[in-house]
């Protein structure tokens, strides 16, 4: 029998990343206000909410991608393995290696399939060919793409289908052995079959990685995530076990959003 009231977890999972009182501004505009939330280790956290609610801003804060936006400023802290990633002393290149990202639109480099995956590894240092080959293969296998491309690694990545390109981008993110993978609408430009492959991949990857995914597709959030966080107008309204958030949320605004009563 399913209990819908959230039972306390026997062992609360370790939080891999924890935002405390995080606010982000773009110039004068407040994008998110005092958000406190943890990403449980090796679980999938889905961030949902209407456009402009701050979910992507939150996601991009976790590896400081917002730094690239002029006028972006942070308050509060984001602890990653105990260290505040907002600290000026943090090496953002290293941070982004450890907290990788996959975007809405697949963006392979105009290079071969092999070079796309090897790219990040070559940036760090240049490993011996055999090691590079092994890591490219491992990453492509983790991204469930290896069987489809193993005989054509020298071909242009741009010749792949949209779904394959997206999995290639995931392989590229995995190649540098991140600990956290952030996904911003990773399947919104894909057909249902390619979407299902990405979702299946997310299930497999959570054995190894902590994952946060932004999605506009609520059924997708329901399917892939363990924990769901609902953002609205820059605030974190509610966060909880996904099954609970979609059957019996506590907050009226969450209820209205997941039942389609907004706007």
């Amino acid at each position: 029998m399913m209990q819908l009231t959230p039972a306390p977890l026997p062992n609360p999972p370790k939080l891999k990343v924890e935002a405390k009182g995080l606010s982000v501004r773009y110039g004068d505009k407040v994008a998110i206000k005092s958000v406190s939330i943890g990403l449980p280790e090796r679980q999938v956290t889905a961030l949902i909410g209407p456009s402009g609610c701050g979910k992507s801003t939150f996601l991009r804060s976790l590896n400081r991608m917002n730094d690239l936006i002029l006028g972006a400023s942070y308050e509060g802290e984001i602890l990653f393995e105990g260290q505040n990633v907002l600290d000026r002393a943090v090496d953002v290149v290293d941070l982004r290696r450890r907290v990788g990202m996959v975007f809405q639109k697949s963006n392979p480099f105009p290079k071969t399939i092999y070079e796309n995956v090897a790219y990040g590894l070559r940036l760090a240092d240049v490993p011996p060919k055999a090691e590079l080959d092994a890591r490219v293969e491992k990453s492509l296998q983790q991204a469930a793409l290896w069987d489809e491309v193993k005989d054509r690694l020298g071909e242009s990545a741009l010749a792949l289908s949209g779904g394959q390109q997206q999995r290639l981008c995931i392989a590229r993110a995995l190649a540098v052995e991140p600990e956290v993978v952030l996904m911003d609408e990773p399947a919104s430009a894909l057909d249902p079959i390619a979407t299902a492959k990405i979702e299946e991949l997310i299930h497999e990857l959570k054995a190894l990685y902590t994952i946060a995914i932004v999605t506009h597709n609520m059924q997708q959030a329901a399917r892939v995530s363990d924990v769901t966080a609902f953002f609205y107008m820059g605030e974190l309204i509610e966060v909880g076990p996904t099954a609970h958030m979609f059957t019996n949320p506590r907050e009226k605004r969450t209820e209205d959003y997941v039942t389609g009563k907004f706007g």
Binding site: M1, T247, N248, D256, V258, T259, G260
Partner: protein
């Protein structure tokens, strides 16, 4: 209350509630008529109950179909999902209540062929109590009132007590005169059907509590054991 952005979805949910209400009020009437067919010795009414059950069955099928369509097309969540799953379960209880009313009517038709037994006042009290439970469970559904539904769940004790008293009274009639046995047995069946109607009302009320609060109150003694 906020409405769905998708008006067609809003209409589907509205239709579902309306259909459940229509089915509920039809079933209430079937119970009342089946009991009247006995107390007033009105066999025409008894026949009408038997015929009207077909419409209850049609309503059950239509509501199930609507629920499946909403599930497939709308992927309902939260309170909408709880409404749909509640609807899918309570139509079964309502349909069973209809069947039990038909059974009561059938027994009445039989009893009306013979002279009445000395009156058993507990029978009309049991009939009233059963009808009242069904009515209150349906009202709790209409008003999404978990407190009222909880009162229905608590109200089952009265029904059980009336049933046991009646059972013993009827046994007494049988022991007094063996010519009473056939009729008293029929009345016992009717009493059992009324008691079962009360149980179905409880099921409806329990689902209403789930629909409103999201907590499942059924089988409290089975709690804490996890299915394998």
């Amino acid at each position: 209350m906020a409405t769905h952005t998708d008006k067609a979805f809003e209409k589907d949910l509205h239709d579902l509630r309306e259909q459940l209400l229509a089915m509920g009020s039809r079933v209430e009437k079937l119970i009342a008529d089946s009991v009247l067919s006995l107390s007033d010795r009105d066999s025409k009414l008894g026949e009408a109950v038997r015929k009207a059950d077909a419409e209850v069955n049609r309503q059950e099928i239509a509501i199930d179909e609507l629920c499946r369509r909403i599930l497939a097309l709308r992927q309902p969540a939260a309170s909408d999902l709880r409404l749909i799953t509640t609807a899918l379960k309570i139509v079964t209880d309502l349909e069973r209540i209809g069947d039990l009313a038909v059974n009561i009517a059938g027994r009445s038709l039989d009893l009306n062929q013979a002279p009445p037994l000395p009156s058993a006042p507990e029978l009309s009290r049991l009939a009233d109590a059963a009808q009242n439970q069904v009515k209150r469970a349906l009202d709790a559904f209409v008003h999404a009132d978990a407190t009222a539904a909880e009162a229905v769940v608590q109200g089952d004790d009265l029904l059980d007590a009336l049933y046991h008293t009646l059972f013993n009274d009827l046994l007494g009639l049988m022991m007094e005169d063996s010519k009473n046995i056939r009729r008293a047995t029929s009345l016992m069946f009717i009493a059992k059907h009324l008691e079962r109607i009360g149980d179905h009302a409880i099921n409806v009320a329990e689902m209403v509590i789930y629909m409103v609060k999201g907590t499942d109150v059924r089988h409290p003694r089975s709690r804490g054991k996890r299915p394998n």
